[in-house]
Each structure stands twice: as C-alpha cells, then as structure tokens.
Subunit: 307 residues, 2 copies
C-alpha cells in the first residue's frame, strides 16, 4: 500500500550516515554541495507500491513526479537543475508503461530544459524509477542550518493540496481538480521565489510542513514558532477536510510531496507567506499555535517526532 | 531467479535513448562525459532476485559488487573513481541486512578512497541498491567508438571465472575459491592497465566478452577478429567446464560481470593479453576463430545478437 514512501521514516539518513562514517561533510541537506566542481547534486528514487501506485496514478505522472522531487531539492539550495541521470527498473513485460513513465520525465525535462546525460535500465519485479540531478552551486547555497534567531519563517505557497489530491484519487472523488493536479503533477518551479538573496536557510517540503520545520529547527539548532492562523488555507483543502472529517491542520501541516519551500530571512520580504519566527534555544523545537493557544502536534497523523 | 540482470538485454539503452531524444550527445558509453565539469559519470543499479540473490550471496558481497560495477565503468574510460552517491531501497524489517550491504560498500570505498557525497534511502518490497559514481575526465576519455582498422585487441585479464563462481555458489560446490571470490568480490582495480596512453578504445566486460566485443565493433564500425587460442584459460574454468559438461568457450566468451577490460591499441603493448585484431568493414561484425577454423557463436548461450 502507498504510504508516501515513509516506511523508513527517521531512518532515512541512518544508512547513508553509516556509509559515510566520519567522511560526511557533504551530507544531510537537500543536496550535496560539491565545492571543487561548483555543483549541487541530489538523488531521489521511487518504488512501485511504496512511492507510487498505478491503480490511481498514470505512468506519465510517476515520471513527472520523479523529476519534480529531484528538481525541488536543487531549487531549495537556491540553484536551478541543469542535468540529470535516469535509473529505471522495469518488469520484463511492462515496456509500454515504462515508455509512458519516460514520457512524463521528458515533459518535465523539456519544459525546464534539464538535459539527460545517461542512466541505466534493468529488469526487476516491480517498477523503480530514480534520478540524480545537478545544478550549478549558487554563490551562497541555502542550507538547513542557516536559520538564525530573529529570522522570519516563510512558505512559498499554501500547503495541503497534495494530500487532498492523494485522497481524492484513492477514493475516486469527482472534482477537486486542483488537488489532483497538485498530487499528480506538482511543479516546484511554480512557487520558486524570484530571488534567494535575503534568505538565510531553505528546505523543500517532501515529507510534510511540520516534519521539515523540525528538520530545519534541528539543523539550525533553533526554536521555531509557527502561527497557524497565518497559513493561508486553500478552498479545496477546507472542502476535503469536511468531506473526510479531518482537521484542516492535519492536511496543512501533514501533507507530503508538496515540493514547495520553507525559507527564513532576517528581514520581512515580499515572497511567499510569513508564518512564523525563529528563536534562540538550547533544545531545538517547533511550536505551533493559533488564536486558541498552543496547537497539540500529536493531533497530526504524519508527525515525525524528534529522534 | 537470478539471470545476471539481462532481462531487458538489448533494450538497455532503448528507454534512455527515448528519454534523451535528439539531445543524446553524452549517451552510449560506459560513462557520460561531462566536458564543462571535467567529469566522467556513471550510474548502475541492482535489484534483488534479478541482479543478486541472498540465497547464495552475502549482503556484504552485494554492496561490494555494486561499487565494483560502477568503478569498472569509470576505469574503462581511462579515469579513476573519486566520489559517489548511494541509493538503497530496503524492505522495512530488513535493516540488519541493509547495514551489511553498506558494510560491503564501505569496504570497497575505503580501500580505493572513493568518497560518498550523499544518497537516498527508501522503503520497498525488495532490496534495490544503486550508485552514481564520478571520476575526473581524462585528457582523452577512452570511448567505445575509438577502435581503428589495424588496431590490436586486448583483454586485461582472462575471462570466465565470474560465471564459474556463480555456478559453484548456486550449486554449492566445494572448493573453487578463486571463482567464488571473482563472482562475489570482483575487483576492477586488480586488472587495471598501468597506462592508458596508447589505447584507442576500451569497454568493460559487464555482460560478456562476446557481447562487449559486439558493442565495440558496432560503436567503432569495424570488423573484429578474435583468436580463441590466444585467450588464456584459468585452471578453474577448465575444471568447471568439465564438471558442468559445458564448453570452455561458453565460459570464456559468455561470462558476465567480469569487470575487467577489453581495449584496443595501434601498437603491440605489454599490457593484458592480445587476443585479436581490428579490420575495416561496411558491416560491423565479430568473428571468432581457433585452430579448427571459424568458431560458431551460436554455441554460446549468452550471445547478444546484432540488433
């Protein structure tokens, strides 16, 4: 069953860190920063029935989402994707589906002029698609560790639609086209800030707004306070919450694969939505409040605890 | 069942070429050559039950082989691997096996000082391991298309042991340690030529000696004649052929994942074993002969036909 690829959850980096040992200078952000080559590099793979499910997703959307996920990592460093390598594992009798996945990959790559350099194809029991993507290293790569006390916290677009789209596709709801499009064809370029100049840190929303805020707080060793009432709510998110008898907050804070950005800045800028502020702390933490007081994060199903 | 990863066989590049469209300047060799960044890049992925099988392989050997396969691609361009990214997909209850795979990866990376830059970990139904590996672009990257009429054809080491190792592991034969080691822990560095200077082309033996010779002939648009009697036969290869009632030639020409090199040179050099010569042709072709005349290639099970 589709679980948003969270089976390993907090263990995401454990294996990579074991592999890296002490030699892990490059590791832990959305991208590796390769100084000598002036590159930022990311790699993201997706497995059938874990990260995608053909019972409610088209093969084209699977290819598109692979590219969106990788591009989002590059963008979150303040860069732009330029080249990629493709890995695809294909069950032997499924070449036609594979070609449709490739077609989705080409749509994205063509639209944003990302050049393929190579890749590999193998047989397998289930589909697996992966990409390694590159961008020029920006003058000052945006890291997760850059948030400073006093900074303001922004999101580049309202969150929640992706999870709504997933629900409507799984339950075959009529309508909700915006949500379905956001889930099937997310586009990190649509919400990319016009300038990264005044930003101190950034992270892309892969798992959920709340879990990425936690990663940001941990990496920057800060306390982050979020004002729930400042997060704009999309109409379809409200309607979906009503339909599925969920909290709006669960959708807004818990929606994964949004591929928009959280970023911080020491000044008030006119990009995205200002939703919170950064404070000094000894114990990194994320606190969410609204007009009624502190919001209980245990109410959010997709909540990644501090490990 | 393990089939050496050949399920897609000649289709290996079809999907990547579809993805590339006309924009495929970089594609088709063991590595992509990235001129602007002075890099050669390769990516190789392996899936459980297709490329590896825990019923007769240790997890450590799976990690080692992943690195060997990628390093072999880099070496075959005349370069040396320096950095890599790691992808690993792990069934949720199998973290201990995953750590052993990582241990095999670290052994190889540590031995040859290849630095990990990052990677991704996801859940999946079966194990999948992959790497993207980088090396400095050599002054003159060795391409498959560089063989010229008149060139001599060399192999960097005798072939056949890898397939023998696979057979002995699958059938639990006693002894044959050299073969088993060659299959479980192949090391492309052991047979790397001391200089690439006089070489006109190179390709690493991933699928089989014969299928790589065919790729070389096609890429270089030449006719290659191979003298079977010039290929040295390892003792264990002879013994294995006897034991399994096979032709020695089937093992020598058909053994995959050898991760040694075929290369060509316009002069007689003292590296590896001279096994043939390159001729002009209108129809690229590989001809194998021995003292009895032309050898019938249809006798080789792992024979990739001209497409």
């Amino acid at each position: 069953m589709y679980d948003g690829g969270k089976m390993l959850n907090n263990k995401e980096w454990e294996l990579i860190n074991i592999a890296a040992g002490k030699d892990n200078l490059h590791i832990g952000d959305d991208c590796a920063v390769w100084d000598e080559k002036n590159l930022v590099v990311t790699t993201d793979h997706m497995c059938e029935n874990i990260h995608f499910d053909f019972s409610f997703m088209t093969p084209e959307s699977v290819g598109w989402r692979l590219m969106a996920a990788n591009a989002s990592d590059i963008i979150s460093m303040g860069s732009k994707p330029t080249h990629f390598l493709l890995n695809i594992a294909v069950p032997s009798s499924e070449m036609e589906i594979a070609k449709k996945i490739i077609s989705g990959i080409k749509s994205f790559a063509g639209k944003y002029n990302i050049k393929i350099m190579g890749g590999d194809t193998t047989g397998s029991q289930f589909f697996m698609v992966g990409a390694t993507m590159f961008g020029e290293k920006p003058e000052k790569p945006l890291l997760r560790s850059g948030a400073k006390p006093g900074d303001f916290v922004y999101i580049s677009s309202p969150t929640g639609l992706s999870k709504c789209g997933l629900l409507h596709l799984q339950y075959s709801t009529n309508g909700f086209e915006l949500s379905k499009k956001k889930f099937l064809y997310p586009d990190p370029f649509e919400t990319v800030p016009s300038s990264f100049e005044c930003m101190s840190s950034a992270i892309d929303i892969s798992d959920s707004l709340i879990s990425e805020l936690i990663l940001l707080a941990k990496s920057s060793k800060v306390h982050i306070k979020i004002d729930l009432d400042k997060i704009p709510i999309e109409k379809e998110v409200e309607q979906t919450a009503k339909l599925f008898k969920m909290n709006v907050e669960e959708l807004v804070l818990g929606s994964g694969e949004e591929f928009s950005l959280i970023f911080t800045s020491d000044r008030e800028i006119k990009q995205g939505y200002k939703i919170g502020r950064v404070y000094e702390t000894k114990e990194p933490e994320v606190e969410v409040f609204n007009k009624n007081g502190v919001f209980d994060l245990s109410r959010i199903a997709v909540f990644t605890h501090f490990g």
